[in-house]
């Protein structure tokens, strides 16, 4: 019997979701456009005062990143739920938490990486000090996977509900707050020339905690939702 290994199943599922995202470009274009639009609208709303913009830039970028992630969360499981693929995944011979991790990894690659790529340009536009821009990239690199991992639990709990969007926001947003506080705090600290390793270590701790616990919680929540 030519039995595929778990790692191969992981790669197949990851590749499947990336292929689907490439064929349906709106999936990653929408959160990215939202992210860019929100950030570019801020100078128009608060006034083009360079000092003010530079000071609030970490908060603007991270709130926009958080909302952009929220906007795209539903896509992790929604289409699989609607077309019955989720049932088939739950009936896979492989452990569901590993398959969940593949789906969340695909979601992050499709929605998190584009934010990472455009954020230096937006940071420059807002006049963020050079010293803080490296930390901004680092926080987005560490923080956005946390948003996808934690968000997947909320999506799994609400995927079977007809209007789960509001409940999803209420469930997930409070869990995003620590990431928002430590990430924007790290950027502000770096802009002020402070040592921000404590905030970065906290974000890394959140990331490892999310990687280890969120797939288990998401898989359990999916079984509950499907039942």
């Amino acid at each position: 019997m030519n039995r595929l290994s778990l790692s191969q199943a992981f790669i197949y599922l990851l590749r499947r979701d990336l292929t689907l995202a490439v064929r349906n470009r709106a999936e990653f274009a929408n959160p990215l456009l939202f992210f860019i639009l929100v950030i570019t609208l801020f100078p128009l709303a608060v006034g083009a005062v360079p000092e003010l913009l530079a000071r609030i830039a970490p908060g603007i970028i991270w709130v926009a990143a958080l909302l952009a992630a929220m906007l795209s969360l539903d896509s992790i499981f929604r289409s699989d739920f609607d077309d019955g693929s989720l049932e088939q995944l739950l009936m896979s011979a492989h452990p569901m938490p590993v398959l969940v991790l593949a789906k969340v990894a695909a979601h992050w690659l499709v929605t998190g990486i584009p934010l990472l790529l455009v954020s230096p340009l937006l940071a420059e536009m807002l006049g963020m000090p050079q010293a803080a821009q490296g930390i901004l990239l680092l926080t987005i690199l560490i923080g956005t996977p946390i948003l996808s991992l934690v968000g997947s639990i909320g999506v799994a709990l609400t995927v079977g509900l007809p209007k789960g969007g509001i409940i999803l926001s209420l469930l997930v947003l409070p869990l995003y707050v620590p990431v928002l506080i430590f990430a924007s705090g790290a950027i502000e600290g770096a802009a002020g020339g402070l040592d921000v390793s404590a905030q970065i270590y906290m974000l890394l701790a959140f990331l490892f905690l999310s990687i280890s616990l969120s797939p288990l919680a998401t898989a359990a929540a999916l079984r509950m939702s499907m039942s």
């Binding site: 077309d83 009936m91 398959l99």
Partner: protein, 208 residues
């Protein structure tokens, strides 16, 4: 000599919104047997099938596969189960071959050539065609092709003939008969008369 029992349902009950759909349900299926679940709309046919897949929890009772509760078996059970539900469970944004490759990756794969499988369900020409451009009947045939790919022993089928034309229905009836001859088991709901399969058939009417 009688065939060994593979699937056993013991004292099963399902309650939806305070309404008892079924209770004290006991039955067993051996190799080569088929269970046809009948009943009016809302009588709990799909719920029973979903309990057998492990996707839905029974309110009471247990389902056993080779003597072990299915919730204890998990992946070991799913290697033996092929399920085609109300939804086809295939991705519109992928081609027919890409969909079947994923089936191979997710379950118990076989040495089968996927082009041959597509040929068997009369979709050979559509291997590289996106599922989105297939008709409802063609999508159903692709969903049923999953059963061939995984070579699972227990087929759980919820209205498998939906959207199929007469020729396709005839083909899948013979495929089901072949599966039963090869000691497989089928649990199915269908409004289509399947008595012509001439198999070892049990009927369960949930309306009564």
């Amino acid at each position: 000599m009688s065939e060994p029992v593979l699937l056993q349902i013991e004292n099963l009950a399902c309650i939806r919104d305070d309404t008892v759909l079924f209770e004290h349900l006991n039955l067993s299926l051996a190799e080569g047997q088929m269970l046809l679940v009948e009943g009016s709309n809302g009588s709990g046919k799909t719920s029973l099938l979903r309990i057998l897949t492990g996707l839905k929890m029974a309110d009471e009772g247990n389902v056993y596969w080779r003597g072990k509760a299915i919730d204890q078996l998990a992946g070991e059970y799913y290697e033996q189960v092929g399920y085609v539900g109300h939804h086809d469970g295939i991705k519109r944004g992928l081609t027919c071959l890409e969909n079947l490759r994923l089936v191979q990756a997710m379950g118990k794969p076989t040495e089968l050539d996927l082009d041959t499988v597509l040929d068997r369900v009369n979709l050979y020409r559509y291997g590289d065609t996106l599922v989105a451009s297939l008709s409802a009947g063609q999508k159903r045939r692709l969903a049923l092709a999953r059963l061939i790919v995984t070579e699972s022993l227990l087929w759980i089928l919820d209205e498998p003939f939906t959207s199929l034309d007469k020729k396709s229905m005839g083909y899948f009836e013979s495929l089901f008969a072949q599966h039963l001859q090869q000691q497989g088991i089928i649990v199915m709901t269908s409004h289509h008369d399947i008595s012509m399969l001439g198999c070892d058939l049990q009927r369960l009417n949930l309306s009564t």
